[in-house]
């Protein structure tokens, strides 16, 4: 039995990740912000991974990222809601419902047509937000610290919430990837017609993945808006969506932990690049993307897999020797 399909192991990896992230955050408080933002973006990229596994690249996840963040910002500004749970559930549900509606249309598209249509849809939201002052205009909204159990969430507490929620989500999605529906994704990428001959509906599976991806992006958008404290229409601009694609490619699509790794590495490189060479950030991003596609098509996560396989091969060799 392949070890990647072991539920106990999945739980352990997710728990270990949560503990390590919390330990790093509290040992180096100056990294909390970077980590929280990276993890929120990692969740959006996680949704994209679901789609990439089926061979679909969305250049419009910014749509749901932005929708989630705006639902938080606008609920705070206009409705004066500030309960953390309500806001996050609202952001996720809103994005998922929106994804569900648009999914009816998008699930019929493949390849670049999928990419282009998702891009167009997110640019529609961008245009709407820019032009209507009720929706914040080009300035957007400020987002304040949310409230939970009647208490305002402090910065370190917000960080802890982000880490734990991310851990739980990643665990859930990893379980999903191991389920029958989750494993259908790569099959659709390999050969869609054969999948249908085997009795599964590719379109329905893609629709489901799209809804999940939208929900994750909304959730990530909501979480990141708390950490960043400000939202603006650029969240829906296509270059934001391009960044999520980059994170997903950087991490890899092998499992649900990969995009988090990708997001953390990206934020680290970004803060280094901003510090030492401000105008070369995109060169670094583009060049590393090319290098990844050429030399490491499985993303960073495939490095751990390689190490694992090497160890296993050594073990086999030892056993054979005994």
């Amino acid at each position: 039995m392949n070890t990647t399909f072991n539920p106990q192991r999945t739980g352990m990896v997710a728990a270990a990740y949560t503990v390590v992230a919390l330990a790093v955050g509290y040992a180096f408080p100056q990294w909390q912000f970077l980590l929280a933002v990276a993890l929120s973006k990692g969740l959006v990229a996680l949704g994209l991974v679901l789609l990439l596994r089926s061979g679909l690249a969305s250049f419009g996840q910014g749509l749901y990222y932005c929708a989630g963040a705006y639902s938080v910002g606008m609920a705070m500004t206009y409705l004066e809601w500030n309960n953390l749970v309500v806001l996050l559930v609202g952001a996720t549900l809103l994005a998922a419902v929106l994804g569900g509606i648009l999914g009816f249309l998008l699930a019929r598209y493949r390849d670049i047509f999928f990419a282009m249509l998702t891009l167009a849809l997110s640019m529609i939201l961008y245009g709407l937000l820019m032009r209507y002052p009720v929706l914040g205009g080009s300035d957007g909204f400020n987002v304040y610290a949310p409230v939970i159990f009647g208490e305002k969430l402090s910065r370190p507490a917000l960080f802890a919430v982000t880490v734990i929620l991310t851990g739980v989500t990643v665990w859930a999605i990893q379980r999903y990837l191991q389920s029958r529906a989750g494993r259908l994704g790569p099959a659709i990428k390999d050969n869609e017609v054969r999948v249908e001959y085997l009795g599964a509906s590719a379109r329905r599976n893609i629709h489901l993945n799209y809804i999940l991806a939208a929900g994750l992006a909304g959730f990530g958008g909501g979480l990141s808006s708390f950490s960043i404290g400000h939202i603006d229409p650029d969240m829906a601009f296509w270059t934001t969506s391009g960044e999520f694609v980059f994170i997903a490619i950087l991490g890899g699509t092998r499992n649900a932990y990969a995009p988090l790794l990708g997001a953390i590495v990206l934020e680290l490189i970004r803060s280094l690049a901003y510090q030492y060479a401000p105008n070369t950030w995109q060169v670094v991003m583009g060049a590393s993307m090319l290098a990844l596609i050429v030399f490491l098509p499985g993303g960073l996560i495939s490095l751990t897999q390689r190490a694992l396989e090497k160890r296993r091969a050594r073990q086999h060799a030892q056993e054979a020797g005994l």
């Binding site: 891009l119 640019m123 529609i124 583009g286 596609i293």
Partner: protein, 298 residues
């Protein structure tokens, strides 16, 4: 006063510009089946090269009329240099990959070129209005238009017609159509498909750069100007059907008129009217208006 004539004229002029910036994209897709996300960067670099050449030329106190030739020279230089680097140096080695991988590769090239522009030309905007101002204005009724707009309309029509005639009547055009139709068979009858890919990419890059070079005198050239152009060009070619020349023309006309009517009658929706039209067209005709039906392959 009625807005209608103004909206129509603006729409057609905008459509000509759109066609010019989009035609290279559809050409490259038609032949190579690659959606080139670096198209907007080629546009930007074309504009920068043009503005640099024109500024140098005028600073020497030379004949200003010659600056129009320089705009074209800039496009040719940009297209040849970057076309060779991108196709010969990079894309050529990955044609076996899936379309999504190639899409991501051109996206990476876009990222690199965006910063390359900042590194070479800095972040300050450049202006050189001389070629634009030189031609004066043209009045229809109460409306006044810069004559330079007709240069862009002319360039759009000329490039479209020239491409169509080339494909239809010349020997190389016919061979290129064979490549578009079936690469395998073209190889079998000894057409050098690789070479056609290189030439196509160069010409496509040149057309993108030409769009930028001709736009340069009308705007202030600044980093990031290509970011919007990519999505506009995408909208145009996707509406018409990727890889179709008449499709790109029709797409440009639709987008141009929609935007101009939106600007004149309902300014709030200007920004997203174009994408809304694109989404509607794709929802009704998934592969665009002029796309041919394709068999499903197992």
């Amino acid at each position: 006063m009625s807005l209608l004539p103004a909206a129509l004229i603006d729409g057609v002029m905008y459509a000509a510009w759109l066609f010019l910036v989009a035609v290279g994209l559809t050409l490259i897709y038609g032949v190579m089946k690659i959606l080139n996300m670096a198209h907007g960067s080629l546009y930007t670099i074309g504009a920068y090269t043009a503005i640099t050449l024109v500024t140098q030329w005028l600073a020497g106190g030379s004949e200003p009329l010659f600056s129009y030739v320089l705009l074209i020279v800039a496009a040719v230089i940009t297209g040849v240099v970057l076309g060779i680097i991108i196709e010969y140096g990079l894309l050529r080695h990955f044609y076996r990959e899936e379309p999504v991988v190639l899409l991501l590769m051109t996206y990476a090239v876009f990222l690199i070129l965006e910063d390359a522009v900042k590194l070479i030309w800095g972040v300050e905007p450049y202006v050189a209005y001389e070629p634009y101002g030189l031609l004066g204005n043209f009045t229809i009724g109460t409306l006044s238009y810069p004559n330079y707009s007709f240069v862009i309309v002319g360039a759009a029509i000329l490039s479209g017609v020239a491409l169509a005639l080339f494909l239809k009547f010349t020997r190389y055009g016919k061979l290129l159509r064979a490549v578009i139709h079936d690469q395998e068979v073209s190889k079998a009858i000894n057409i050098n498909v690789q070479r056609y890919f290189l030439y196509t990419f160069i010409v496509g890059a040149m057309l993108a750069a030409l769009g930028g070079a001709l736009t340069a005198p009308t705007i202030s050239v600044a980093p990031g100007m290509g970011v919007d152009v990519i999505v506009l060009a995408f909208a145009v070619v996707v509406i018409g059907g990727l890889g179709s020349l008449p499709g790109a023309a029709l797409g440009a006309l639709i987008v141009g008129l929609v935007r101009s009517f939106a600007v004149h009658y309902w300014p709030e929706v200007e920004l997203f009217s174009i994408y809304a039209v694109m989404a509607i067209v794709l929802a009704v005709r998934p592969k665009g208006l002029f796309a041919a039906a394709e068999p499903r392959k197992i």
